[in-house]
Point group: C2
């Protein structure tokens, strides 16, 4: 084993101990608790090098070492092995999710489950509208000049929108339009809809141009809106448990960030480059001040006929990365399975 390899072993050991004890770890403790085969003095040399490389720091002169963001990054990239969950754990996940009665229930169960498994804050994004396909469009006249448009996707998601019209409704026209819309659109991926909608306008125009245009506009606009994406969060209480130890001041900024759908959606989108793999953002990498002292572990789920979205967990920098990654990956997989079935 080269001395370079041993240094990484030392880093791994430091992180494992620090995660377990929450206290800076010194060379003596390290040599006792791990079989590194070298003396504390040697470890000290390695530590000096790791510190030089910016992977660990000393809180103060006569204290042990603590990993930096870069240290955790190194650990996650090169050292951590995602340890699979136990069979009972997997059974429990599967059973719990299969009892769900509809999409909302699936998501709700998944997010609570993940929060409990990881003992951290869990986050689940609803399957994205844009990538799922259309199952049904419903037009409901409401009074003389209002029209409720209901859009239903193959994932079971329902979007609604009320239109205000400039002239009174023609019931017959509405009925015809409903049929035509559904014939023309059902089963299409939302991305493919724009063209289909346009040709529909030209085709139907004669019989009530104004109504058709406004409805079609509403449908495509609704579909285009990215703000339709939603994220649910659970387990915020898990933040409070270790608050004093893990966060320099308060958990306030973290809670704020978690309440901002926009922030979470941006982060999830950034991490979505690879759909299926588990992605990790550590500390500052989240690019958000409130989350600078947290790490974010996410995985994509869905696909194959259902929408695509992400699940994840948010916790302190000092988190059990292998365990969290395993739990996130497992929940993502079971979610995919449930939604495809």
């Amino acid at each position: 084993m080269s001395s370079e390899d041993r240094r990484l072993d030392v880093l791994r050991a430091i992180i494992e101990d620090y995660v377990a004890t929450r206290e800076p770890v010194g060379s003596r403790a390290l040599s006792e608790r791990h079989q590194l085969g070298v003396s504390p003095a040697t470890i000290r040399n390695d530590m000096a090098a790791l510190e030089e490389a910016g992977l660990i720091v000393q809180p103060h002169t006569s204290a042990g070492r603590v990993p930096t963001d870069m240290g955790y990054r190194q650990f996650v990239d090169r050292l951590a092995e995602v340890k699979p969950l136990s069979l009972p754990e997997r059974r429990a996940i599967s059973a719990l999710l299969e009892q769900a009665v509809d999409l909302d229930d699936v998501i709700d169960r998944a997010v609570r489950l993940l929060a409990q498994l990881t003992q951290q804050v869990a986050v689940v994004q609803y399957p994205s509208l844009r990538r799922s396909s259309l199952r049904h469009v419903e037009l409901v006249p409401v009074g003389a000049r209002h029209l409720l448009v209901v859009i239903i996707t193959t994932t079971g998601r329902v979007e609604q929108r009320t239109l205000e019209l400039t002239e009174d409704l023609d019931e017959a026209l509405v009925a015809r339009l409903r049929v035509r819309l559904n014939v023309a659109l059902s089963g299409l991926r939302l991305a493919e809809l724009s063209k289909a909608l346009e040709s529909l306008v030209t085709e139907l125009s004669p019989a009530g141009a104004a109504l058709v245009r406004v409805v079609v506009a509403a449908v495509s606009e609704t579909l285009a809106q990215e703000s339709e994406e939603r994220v649910v969060v659970a387990g915020t209480a898990n933040l409070a448990r270790t608050a004093g130890a893990d966060f320099s001041r308060t958990i306030g900024p973290v809670l704020e960030a978690l309440e901002e759908q926009v922030v979470l959606l941006r982060l999830l989108a950034e991490m979505a480059e690879d759909h299926t793999a588990v992605a990790v953002r550590i500390g500052r990498e989240t690019q958000h001040a409130g989350l600078a002292e947290t790490s974010f572990v996410t995985s994509g789920y869905g696909g194959e006929g259902s929408g695509v979205a992400r699940v994840g967990a948010v916790g302190p920098l000092r988190m059990d990365y292998p365990g969290t990654m395993a739990a996130v990956r497992a929940v993502a997989r079971y979610l995919t399975r449930i939604l495809a079935g």
Copy 2:
């Protein structure tokens, strides 16, 4: 002024000072900051009496006094005047809520607004399904043996449910059923539906008893489900700001309680005796261990054609009751106006 009256003045002064400073208040400070017209010694006598009555306590022998739950209760019941919001504040509320585009948006804006106004955790309950009335029922065949039932209420709320059938669907029957359901049910209050549904079953039975029964059962079951009620929460970060000072250990239990829809719904239901007035639950009165160190201020909103539900704020025992009550009441009123319009 009787000495009894002065005692209550002293209680009021103690609460005001304690809320402002977060520190136990002594007789000297009281006589200086308030025009009570008596000496500290007299105040001390009154304090002894108030303590005897269980309205205030001393954290330790040589400290000032702190209000008890009972003290706050007394204050809220007999001493607090709800001070109306300023005109600009009311303008801002009105403007913000009026920009909302649909029900979800109204609720979302309302809860964030209230969190900001009160600097506490805000809670808004969706207008209850049970009390709103039915606008439309939609049946959507999905494959041969699945039927999606979509229920739309006058408040714009959409509920969905997927049915699994034991035999293949008869499209024509579904179409007929849709029409009949809507003719029979539209505009009825949900409470009145049970009977209407039953008579519908007997009327339609011959033409496909199984399908009709299963659909009707699903509709009434969905409507009956109280679990359909939802509460949204915002501003949990406001808890963290004063965490150390206001909560004996951590805010964990509070966050847990706030994540449990069931807990919130129970509390809101209990406070709903009077629909319009502002109700307050102080500390233990919430009957929930996690909320023993918080108070809950709520008000009903809605009615008149829209659903009925509650808005509220949750904060530390030591909260600005008059201000919070004013904000909650104002938001409730504007919500009522917006939903009726």
